[in-house]
């Protein structure tokens, strides 16, 4: 099981702060494929990845980032703090 966390518009669109998800994915891209296969709203949210960033165990990674040993994956838009 992996803990998924959603922020900003992704959180709003999915309607959840986060969820536990049984995934066999080895990297972020594969995880996203699994999520899209669940249908709405995931298929729409993850249709265009250009506005989506990912952190694995609270460290930002690319979409080919490994999920080996990962406990938590967060999806969010580019940061707008400051």
């Amino acid at each position: 099981m992996i803990e998924l966390r959603y922020f900003a518009w992704i959180r709003e669109r999915i309607g959840l702060n986060g969820e536990s998800f049984a995934s066999g994915a080895k990297d972020v891209s594969s995880l996203i494929q699994e999520l899209r296969l669940r249908g709405a709203p995931y298929d729409h949210v993850f249709a265009d990845l250009s506005g989506i960033r990912v952190a694995v165990d609270q460290t930002v990674v690319e979409f080919d980032g490994s999920l080996v040993g990962a406990r938590e994956v967060a999806f969010f838009p580019p940061m707008t703090g400051g």
């Binding site: 609270q58 707008t80 703090g81 400051g82």
Partner: protein, 150 residues
Amino acid sequence: MRVRVQTEAFDAGVELDAFSVGLSDVGAVVSFTGLVRQSPEGDLIALEIEHYPGMTERALKDLRERAITRFELSDALLIHRYGRLAVSEPIVMVATASPHREAAFKGADFLMDTLKSNAPFWKKEIRKAGEAWVEAHGRDAKALKRWESS
């Protein structure tokens, strides 16, 4: 606490003085305070700032360490708020202390540029006409690039 993530408002002057107390071998202290600015249309009611608890603190602590090492700062302070913030309330504050003026300025400038793209905060504008997530600016990425070569 030199890194704070909080909902409560802070007083920049009080923070600046608290930061400056007991610093030794310091010739320069720079502070930056970011405030909620009214929109050009004048219809902004508030900002809602969301963050990623846990990762935020880690990212800010890491940033602080990087700035201290890179600019040989004597000390650095980062405060960032989340939650609902009214117009003209403070959002963020950074302060740097250094033996030298240039390092204090550059350190604070670096912290702000880097924070914008590395600390997991997201701003939503609450306007009379509705709500909208603030989009990241191309100029933020450009500002960040300044620190790659120098």
